[in-house]
Each structure stands twice: as structure tokens, then as C-alpha cells.
Symmetry: C2
Subunit: 285 residues, 2 copies
Amino acid sequence: MLYLVGLGLADETDITVKGLEIVKKAERVYLEAYTSILLVDTSKLEEFYGRPVIVADREMVESSSDEILHNADKVDVAFLVVGDPFGATTHTDLVLRARELGIEMRNIPNASIMSAIGCTGLQLYSFGQTVSMVFFTDTWKPSSYYDRVKQNAEHGLHTLVLLDIKVKEQSLENMARGRKVYEPPRYMTVAQCAEQMLETEAERKEGICGPESLAIGAARVGAVDQQLVVGTLEELTKVDLGKPLHSLVLLGTKTHELERDYIRRFAVDTATFDNIWKKHYEAKP
Amino acid sequence: MLYLVGLGLADETDITVKGLEIVKKAERVYLEAYTSILLVDTSKLEEFYGRPVIVADREMVESSSDEILHNADKVDVAFLVVGDPFGATTHTDLVLRARELGIEMRNIPNASIMSAIGCTGLQLYSFGQTVSMVFFTDTWKPSSYYDRVKQNAEHGLHTLVLLDIKVKEQSLENMARGRKVYEPPRYMTVAQCAEQMLETEAERKEGICGPESLAIGAARVGAVDQQLVVGTLEELTKVDLGKPLHSLVLLGTKTHELERDYIRRFAVDTATFDNIWKKHYEAKP
């Protein structure tokens, strides 16, 4: 049996009791380690599970899935995924391959940022489609996310923006020379995301994510030091929310008063928040 | 400290290790038992936690929140919520009241149907806003959900439809007479939901959820007997997915081929699925 086990968002104790039992009994345990990260090291996981964990990078999952699935029709293999196994990144390739090999699969759900973002106090019902934000470079500033945020905004809906993670990336030079040397990991911050959104807005000028748009920055959701901060995108370019992972929610105009009451206490500056709220959000459809 | 602890979706072992530790140590443990249910009885939870659980119905949470929060500035109180604490139903009222009383709060996220629905193989990125479907009566058939499904459909997005639960409801007669006698609980099935969607479509006629619209029925997500079935709404009116809880996803036209490959094996009838796919979904924007 192939078990896809969600690990939740923060540390080793966010696994479910059901998931932990499976990990303890499985023949082999893999950790998918390229689309998201826990806030603790793999060694901490190994200690907690009382057994070794094989770190599976993108290359392994995409090119050597048969190695992961080896024998899984006879023994139990656990494939651990940060968040929910079918969250931001689905592992449909792996499951489809398992099907071809006649291997049964079971998923053990867990918290995903896609729903845990409800901790902002915003109604999950009022979110439109989720978008992701990649690191801009001097020559590559993709703005397709802007169209989707716009579709949400037209209906007054919030947008969850998932921020880029660069793990085990090669520099162009190293890639060209075939050297398996990797850059240090990079995690986009709320401030960087806010800056990029303002950059796109300055170019597109459709009033979707300008300096006076309200947004919520969320850091380390589910951890003891979880942090929420509310402000205009302009304000958020200056906040430091500390260690990864960060996410951002762009507020929709349909925001309910109860949602406002909830988020107001996280405002960078309450007076600014109240002003902007009155100007752009209050009593909007 | 007030702890909002997510219980996940299926049974007592879906609590996280972190959540379980909190429950074991808390002074009082409440279970919010009116917006969703686990698939096991409260007695099973009590046995697993090794301690009593106070069932909190809507009346208690809405009218007697101070009773729940009593002393929580000095001792730990755990408030258990099926799914994620801030999932489909946010408990912002309770948290806002806690804030007024100067009580600190921490949330322990867990799987919510809002993200666990990814187990269908559909990309969570391609979902628009979630809607809920209430039981129609002879005189009350609210169709506001239809407008939101339409907004999603216009952008080719999937829609998650959460199905009505009636727990501890009074009949009109009992309510009028002030008798605290409750009707047996009712949980909407995928078949009932599909039927109601066809009913609304017959009235609105905008081609949003007609007999040839493809949808996925999901039952008991995360449980051992989790079940997925794919078919037209017409076909789904005839399926029996067994015990609660059920959810439904109306497929958007932006469905990716990999998503199709994943869901095809759950088709009520593969030939019908292939035909309808070709006719209405393939290569659509």
C-alpha cells in the first residue's frame, strides 16, 4: 500500500495520530521536500518517528518514482507531504503511476495553507481561486496571476497568494555545466510579494493591487509564533514577518464587518486601516 | 488559554499529535457539534482522549460563550472543531469574545474539506469560491448559490459544494410551542444535491448545472471507506454513496488532462464520461 501522509504546517507534532501510526509501521518512509517545508529539520522528524526518513527531491519523485513505489504492492510505503498530500501541489503523477503498477493508495489528509489561512478570520467561502507568486528577475516578471486576482476582485472575493520557494535550485551557470551544485534555499517574504504586486500594478494599471489595496500577511501559520499583519500593500512592503513560510491574502471588497473586526487588531496602523476601509471597502458589493 | 483544536474529518485518530497533547492537559474540553460531524460517536472520542467531552450545541456556543470561556485566562480550555477550526464555519464570534475578556487564543489547524477535496485529483488552484447547498422545501428553494457557481464557471473553475446538515433541528410545531424536541439528524446526499442543482437549472436555464454537467461526488473523505464517483449530474441523482458526510464538486471547463486521467477511473460509466468530456470539456478555455 502507498500511503500519502500529510504532515501539516509547522513542526513534527502536526502529523495526525493516524498518520504517525502509519509512518511507524511502514517499510520505507519518504519525505517530499521541494514544494513546501516544515519549520523543523528532517533529523527532528526522524527522532520523533523513531526511524529513518528518505528525503525525496523533485528529481527523485519525477524521474525515479518506480524506486519509491518498489514493492509497494506487498509492503507499506509512506510518502510524507508537508501540508495536505493533495494541497497546493497534487502528486497525481505518483498516484497514476502507482495505479499502473496495481498498487493501492490511501491518503491521510492534514492541514493545508489553502484552508488554514482561515486563521486570518476571513471566511473561506469568500475566497476565489488561489494564485502563486514567483520570484521576479530582471527579465522575467510574469503577471498572469494578475488576471486571476482580477477575476476574483470583480466578484469582491479574497485571493490567497502562495509565495515562491526555491529549494535545490541550480544557477544558470551550474546548470549549463551540468554541475550538481545548488544555491542556498530562498523563501519569498510578504514584503517581497507586496513589492512585486505593486510592480505589476504599476505596469497594468487596472486598480487591482495598488498601494491602497488592503492585504494580510501571514507567517508560520499553525506554529507557536504564527504572525498576522494587516495593511496596505504599500505598508506591507516594509514589514518584517521573520522566518518562513509566508503567505499573503489580498482583501476582496465583499469583506464582511465581522471579518473587519477580526483583522483590525492586526493592522500595521489602525488609523490608516480605518481610513482605507472607509474609502475603498465599506459597504461595497 | 483558549485552544481551538481541529479534529480532521473522519475518526478519533485524525487529531494531530499536538492537538491530542492539548486535549489531554486542558481543564475543560468542548466539542462543537452542529456544523459538521466526525464519523464516530463522542463516547469514542472520550475513550481515546481518556477524559470527558462537553458537547456544545449551537445554542451553547452562541448564547453561553462566557460559560465556555470561564476562567480561560488562568486555565486551558480546548474547543474542538471537526475539520479545521477556521474551516467552513469560522468561530470568530467566540474568539472576538475571548479577546474582549483578555483571553489568549491559539489554533491547531487540521484537514478541512475545503482542501482535503484535493483527493479528487482536481487542482485546488482551479477551484473558485465554495458554495453551500441547503435542503430545499416545497416553498423554499434558494438559488443564490447558482450565481456564485456561474461566476466560477465563467472562468472555467471548479466549484466545491458543501452539503446541508440538520442536527438538533426543531419542527415548526415544536418550535412554536417552545418544546425542546428535536428531529432526527439529516445529512444531504450527493444524489439529493445533484437533484436540487438540476431543479435550479430547470428554473434558471443558463446552462450552469444541467443534466450533462460533470461532477464528482465524494463521501467520507479521509476515512478508510472514502468513496469518489464521477458522472453527469443526471447520473449522480441515481448514485448511493452510503453514509455521510458527502460533498460534490462541479467540474469547470478548465479541467486539465491530468485531472481528467485521474478522475476517469471513478466514472459511473466510462463511455458516457468520455462522450461528455469530448462534447463539453475538451480543449475548452
